[in-house]
């Protein structure tokens, strides 16, 4: 038999901190980049003692696409389609963050109707993101069926969004000053019908999954994180709200017309995977509420302000933060007065949320690590950008 000598393998630069190899009785395991529950190309180096995790360290960069650099090479308009690809699950929020930043920089006002449409499609997109997360998380935990039910509902929603934007996943729907095209006439009625349908499905979700004793056993008390820890790592979104701080950009720094709407911000103080799970499940309802309010009195008028065909914002810089499905998305644009941005900085919530993982995973079982990882709702392309 051919001798197998690991010393001959090229040294892995990302595991340098794990050198010089495991201590006695420990096992170094590379989870990912091709692993069923790292959802894409995240790689996590684990040092295991039996099945207990001694150390965990995420290794990033397998899907780094240089979005920020691309922004510097393209005009303001041309960078827009990139935003749908940063976080493909909540593309609308990224659309919005970038469009908002440039609008702030160039001083473009968005008409009322445009704002309402933006709110509606972003919330629809948030629901689709949460539904997918729900299904995928349960897939991580070994339940194969819920994702199909979630996709069944998500399909209705995607049909609505397709009628509006023409695409089903990587939307590029926002423009500076509003949205790309107006919504079809039956948009409002379809949205209302969908929220009604989703609300009627939520009890089924609860019975099938949330109340399930096995799921509770897998989530309750797993990956507990207090507010301090969450804040220290800059965690946002459901991860932060799951540890008891009801912080939501939509409420904390109301942008667009969110100030007009009446909605609840769910927060749970346990800080475990179940709390994060519950926050997202409640957010489905919150989003439904917002959609109802946004579309039931859709103002008339143009959906988009007239933006110049070649945009040259004045020298300066602007930031715009929106609440994405995964947390606070922030886009920072700096202009030198030319047709291309001087610098665009994208703040991805997943990156901060992932950093907490090293602390949460320490001392847990391998199966718990999968559960924690899933409960953080990571989208790897967004983390790597």
């Amino acid at each position: 038999m051919q001798a197998f000598d690991t010393a001959q393998l090229p040294r892995d630069p990302s595991s340098v901190r794990f050198e010089p190899g495991p201590t006695e009785d420990k096992l170094i395991l590379s989870m990912g980049p091709q692993h069923p529950s790292t959802h894409g190309v995240l790689r996590i180096l684990l040092e295991l003692d039996g099945e207990y995790i001694v150390r965990a360290e995420p290794v990033l960069g397998y899907i780094h696409r240089m979005h920020e650099w691309m922004a510097e090479q393209k005009t303001y308009f041309q960078f827009m389609p990139n935003m749908g690809r940063v976080d493909y699950l909540h593309a609308m929020a990224w659309n919005w963050a970038y469009a908002g930043a440039v609008e702030r920089l160039a001083g473009i006002e968005v008409p009322e109707r445009g704002e309402h449409i933006r709110v509606a499609v972003t919330e629809l997109n948030r629901i689709s993101s949460h539904l997918l997360w729900w299904g995928a998380y349960l897939l991580d935990l070994g339940a194969f069926t819920p994702i199909m039910y979630a996709f069944d509902d998500r399909e209705i929603l995607l049909d609505i969004l397709q009628a509006v934007t023409g695409s089903r996943l990587t939307y590029s729907y926002f423009t500076f000053g509003g949205v790309y095209n107006d919504v079809p006439d039956d948009f409002a009625s379809r949205c209302l019908a969908f929220t009604k349908h989703l609300r009627s499905r939520l009890p089924m979700y609860r019975d099938l999954v949330t109340d399930n004793v096995i799921l509770r056993g897998r989530c309750e008390g797993i990956g507990e994180m207090d507010v301090d820890l969450a804040r220290r790592y800059g965690a946002t979104g459901p991860v932060l709200r799951g540890s008891g701080a009801p912080v939501d950009t939509r409420r904390a720094e109301p942008y667009s017309v969110y100030g007009k709407f009446d909605f609840r911000i769910p927060a749970y103080s346990q800080g475990d995977a179940m709390a994060r799970y519950m926050v997202r499940m409640d957010e489905l309802e919150t989003s439904c509420d917002i959609i109802d309010q946004a579309v039931s009195n859709l103002p008339d008028g143009p959906c988009s302000a007239k933006a110049p065909k070649t945009l040259k914002p004045p020298k300066g810089e602007a930031c715009y933060a929106v609440e994405g499905a995964r947390g606070k998305i922030l886009v920072h644009v700096r202009s030198d007065g030319g047709p291309k941005p001087y610098r665009v900085k994208l703040r991805a919530p997943g990156f901060s949320n992932l950093s907490v993982f090293c602390e949460l995973a320490r001392g847990t079982l391998l199966a718990d690590a999968v559960s924690i990882l899933g409960s953080l709702d990571l989208v790897i392309p967004e983390i790597d950008r």
Partner: protein, 167 residues
């Protein structure tokens, strides 16, 4: 924890398991939602956004509205569009065969060829948005399968002619 509480917990746990079985069991009896593709087709193709296509003139649908200004080519983030139009002949070369050059060309108001490379396109819509005469729009053609990358270079003029004939 007292024994009775323990058993109560076990009972609620067991109940939740049976409820779960009930839900999947009910789903088992429900009709399936799959659309089996070659036999059936989804019903929302009309809103699908496929590759871009040209819009014909009102009076002659086989001729595009395009005025060969080249704005769309410049707007496209991924350089997928190629618009060629006749290069005006130089003095004394009137008889030479007409050369094609990238739009815009002086004096030429109609495109000779409009080609979109769909393998590069991100369906962002910047081209359609920029076009001054609304000559570009999204088609609703979802059937894009090819054995060769070259087949994704779609000749839009030919496509427009075909569409006009079919009507």
């Amino acid at each position: 924890m007292s024994v009775s509480a323990l058993f109560e917990e076990a009972c609620t746990g067991l109940k939740s398991l049976f409820v779960g079985l009930g839900i999947t069991g009910k789903a088992f009896c429900q009709p399936q939602v799959t659309v089996i593709y070659p036999k059936q087709e989804v019903d929302n193709l009309s809103t699908f956004r496929g590759h871009v296509e040209l819009v014909g003139k009102e009076d002659d649908p086989s001729v595009p509205r395009c005025v060969a200004c080249g704005a769309c080519v410049k707007a496209c983030p991924s350089d997928c569009l190629t618009i060629l139009c006749p290069v005006p002949a130089k003095e004394g070369e009137q008889d030479a065969p007409v050369a094609m050059g990238p739009a815009p060309q002086k004096g030429s108001k109609t495109p000779g060829a409009v080609i979109v490379d769909f393998s590069l396109c991100s369906l962002c819509g910047q081209c359609a948005k920029t076009c001054p005469v609304d000559s570009l729009r999204f088609s609703d053609n979802p059937y894009m399968v090819a054995l060769d990358r070259k087949e994704f270079r779609i000749d839009l003029m030919a496509r427009l002619k075909r569409q006009a004939e079919e009507e």
